[in-house]
């Protein structure tokens, strides 16, 4: 072996097994050790596999709580078949319904353990986000389908979609921003924002009737684009935080 440093390294690691006079055998020994190490490396779970595991543990409470909001929204829709001012009011409630799952690590002081696992707080949040977002999307689709059925017309579909998206995106972005800042007060703040939003959207048709006129559609679309951009920024941050050892979430 010509490289003295390599020989010294192997001597230190392998002790007496280094055979400096027989390089082929030493190389073979190294290959075997490297092979054994490689074989012992655990296969990595893909994100979708991880998502399935998170669904196994958290999917049911997440979907059940959203179902309760969905049923309440459907009952309201049935009682007022033609109006669509009540739609924005229910969207923050979808966030309120999933909040306990997002903040449970902090509440039960498990976030420190979760953050030190391979998936980390960031990937866990991302998986929860996919599940919560998927659940909300299904609920929203059925809710809008019900509204269209009750109205017997697709005329206001675009307006109803933006009425749902703006409050949902606002509250979701606020929740993720609070999680990112890792403040202990994040959960109560998030709850206050969601409840405040419910009250605001409930009163908005009385306080700002112009907001629900056809001419105000541009304001809604601009708001959807703005909050989608903010949400995309938050999600990008989570993805980057997961790739590096960046703290994400709240560790007391």
């Amino acid at each position: 072996m010509k490289d003295e440093k390599l020989e010294a390294f192997l001597r230190r690691r392998l002790g007496g097994e280094v055979m400096s006079g027989r390089p082929e055998e030493t190389v073979e020994l190294c290959r075997r050790i490297v092979g054994e190490r490689a074989a012992s490396v655990r296969p990595r779970q893909s994100f979708w596999g991880f998502l399935s595991d998170v669904f196994h543990f958290e999917g049911i409470p997440l979907l059940l709580s959203q179902s309760v909001v969905f049923i309440a929204a459907c009952l309201t829709a049935l009682s007022s078949p033609t109006g669509h001012y009540e739609l924005p009011m229910y969207m923050p409630l979808f966030i309120l319904a999933v909040m306990p799952v997002f903040f449970k690590g902090q509440r039960y002081r498990v976030s420190e353990v979760e953050a030190a696992t391979r998936t980390s707080g960031a990937q866990l949040t991302l998986a929860r986000l996919v599940l919560a977002g998927g659940g909300a999307l299904v609920c929203l689709t059925f809710l809008l389908a019900l509204k269209l059925y009750l109205q017997r017309s697709c005329e206001n579909l675009g307006r109803m979609v933006v009425y749902c998206l703006v409050p949902y995106l606002t509250c979701m972005t606020a929740m993720l921003a609070l999680l990112r800042r890792s403040r202990k007060s994040a959960a109560p703040l998030c709850m206050a924002i969601a409840l405040g939003s419910v009250v605001f959207w409930r009163l908005s048709s009385y306080l700002f009737p112009w907001l629900y006129e056809a001419s105000a559609l541009g304001v809604w679309v601009a708001a959807v684009l703005f909050y989608s951009w903010l949400l995309a920024k938050e999600i990008t941050y989570i993805i980057h935080a997961n790739k590096e050892v960046n703290m994400y979430g709240i560790v007391d």
């Binding site: 196994h56 002081r109 498990v110 976030s111 420190e112 353990v113 866990l124 590096e244």
Partner: protein, 289 residues
């Protein structure tokens, strides 16, 4: 495998929690000893990459752990000081949940969970909710979750708190057996825990390592400074006021004091064999320790 800590520092505003700590850790058991507030937990959190250092770095086999991301967390096992759990989960469910977060495929996770529940004597209560467990049982669940991924770097913050003497002995044996070619770091303020299993002891005070070495090396530092003195019971208080008394033992009407002092405290005092406790008390004094 080598975990190197290079001038690791953590400030909280003006308070310095960890102050330019450096060390190189190779496989073995490391005992981090220090009084409450010495900076042990802050240091351990930085070693787990869940707390960003103000300056300095930690490297595993030459790679900075901040850049390793999930590759580092993959080889890490961590038991925090304040171990939390989800009260609605059973022990087996909680371990399966953490196994999922550690990316262990479900079939392998099931086997590992059973194995660890058996190893930590929790098999009988595997399907009971953790909220019904005693403090020691909860702590054992915490230790089990740290071991799930068979970590190369195992960091345990106060692992023996809440454990009864039998459980503590079992944990010590388990960790000694586990260490082998892995790096095990455990923090405690109970000297006897460290004395029993640590290959190297790191003593921390005010955010710095003030002593490091094997148990015998540290004990050796106070050779000739540990004395035994037998005095009448009524004089014991006087000796305690003026000297660091490591132990106080009644023998009939007399009291045998174990005194740590640079000078021979009395003509009747006899030198005795030092232990790690003595070295610790010599550094900190009985009150501070």
């Amino acid at each position: 495998m080598e975990l190197s800590i290079d001038r690791l520092t953590k400030h909280y505003g003006r308070k310095i929690a960890v102050d330019r700590v450096s060390a190189t850790l190779t496989p073995g058991v490391y005992g981090l000893l220090g009084a409450n507030g010495a900076g042990k937990t802050t240091l351990m959190r930085m070693l787990c990459a869940i707390l960003e250092p103000t300056s300095g770095e930690v490297r595993l086999d030459g790679k900075e752990i901040a850049a390793m991301g999930e590759d580092y967390r993959d080889v890490l096992g961590y038991l925090p000081q304040d171990f939390g759990y989800y009260p609605t989960y059973t022990a087996a469910e909680f371990l399966s949940y953490i196994a999922a977060l550690k990316g262990i495929p479900r079939d392998r996770a099931d086997r590992r969970v059973k194995e660890l529940l058996g190893m930590l004597d929790l098999s009988a209560v595997a399907d009971k909710k953790i909220k019904t467990f005693s403090g020691g049982m909860k702590q054992r669940v915490g230790i089990a979750q740290a071991l799930l991924n068979d970590p190369q770097v195992l960091i345990l913050d106060e692992p023996t708190s809440g454990l009864d003497p039998k459980e503590r002995v079992r944990l010590r044996n388990l960790l000694s057996e586990y260490a082998g070619d892995k790096i095990v770091i455990l923090s405690t303020h109970i000297v006897s825990d460290v004395e029993a299993i640590a290959d190297v002891v790191l003593v921390m005070n005010a955010g710095r390592f003030i002593m490091q070495g094997t148990v015998s090396e540290l004990a050796e530092q106070v050779r000739g400074k540990v004395w035994e003195l037998t005095v009448p019971r009524e004089q014991a208080r006087f000796w305690q006021e003026d000297f660091t008394v490591a132990n106080y033992r009644h023998e009939g009407e007399q009291v045998v004091l174990r005194i740590i002092s640079d000078e021979k405290p009395s003509d009747e005092a006899v030198p005795c064999e030092p232990i790690l406790d003595d070295a610790y008390l010599y550094q900190f004094g009985a009150k501070e320790a």
